[in-house]
Point group: C2
Chain length 193, copies 2
């Protein structure tokens, strides 16, 4: 299934063809695959090179996976089992001097994007989810104070059949990817208006 | 100058070779180049597809650029003039229903990373800066309430000569890129320890 972005300007194929499926091929993700994804995240830039990102990596079929699954929103539980791997993301809230690191969630985003582009280059799809009970996840995984669970990410090779999804999910799987025009979020010399 | 990351696992060259210079070639950035960068940002994923990212794009030699330059930390003012373009980034704080969008800064990071990978594919370097007076920038550019300026980004083609930087900047320009090992930020089935 191809969901290439309908772009106004030609962009790199890794960015154009990336999308967030709810179905996956069933092919196994190896430890080397995962290490390569995290290596990509590792080289993201960050404010003062603080690298505030943290990840918990979970394989389906383990008790730890089940604990993470239980933290997901019901809507995500309906499809996330199609992916063999689940990742929880988090950021460190403070700098080494104990100040709030305002840029920490932003920088986690930079690292996750790196991971997603590396995945795309390997034929691996990731689907990021905001819908999780992050407080419950903090408790279940004994996340130390000063860190904040942010998203869950389903990881699996692209593939699968939309007909295996329920009707509502199938519909969202097949709909065109939409974005605002650039003019709505970029201003030249001024705030975009 | 080559500052390829010294990786433990092989990652895509666009991620491996990206770095954040303080010198640039002097080659002009065209409007098409900029539109292509923002097109790449446009197709980032975001929580509920809210696309909370906003950008102000500034060309050196304009009064608006000078206003943005004045908001940068002194350390950044020492080199940022080597780049022909400066971008201010911001995110929208609320959802359409008026709730806090906790994921907005994270999602801005996803969009900026897309922009940076597209730049890399075009031979363009970006250097993100946390060091700016964001409150002053909000005032100067009449940023509406409910948006938060986050970073400034210098944009220019890779190139330039480190000998043209002052000694302190030259030293940081030539030093090796360093990151924590993956084991320090990824935990398998548990919080990284």
């Amino acid at each position: 299934m191809n969901k290439s972005a309908n772009t106004e300007y030609v962009i790199h194929e890794l960015l154009r063809d990336r999308w967030s499926p709810r179905m996956f091929s069933g092919e196994e993700i190896t430890d080397d695959d995962l290490n390569t994804l995290f290596e990509a995240a590792r080289w993201a830039p960050s404010s003062n090179n603080l690298q505030p990102w943290r990840f918990i990596c979970l394989r389906q079929g383990t008790p730890e996976y089940d604990k993470a699954f239980d933290c997901l929103a019901e809507f995500n539980q309906r499809w996330v089992g199609n992916a063999p791997v689940l990742i929880l993301t988090a950021y460190k809230e403070k700098t080494p001097k104990g100040m709030d690191n305002f840029h920490a969630p932003h920088d986690l985003g930079l690292a996750v994007a790196n991971l997603s582009i590396q995945a795309q280059a390997m034929g691996i799809a990731i689907h990021q989810m905001a819908g999780l009970n992050w407080k419950k996840a903090q408790e279940v995984f004994n996340v130390p104070e000063g860190f904040h669970i942010t998203t869950a990410i389903a990881v699996g090779f692209y593939g699968g059949d939309p007909d295996e999804l329920d009707d509502e999910l199938k519909k969202s799987e097949l709909k065109e990817r939409k974005r605002k025009p650039v003019s709505e979020f970029v201003g030249n010399g001024q705030w975009p208006s």
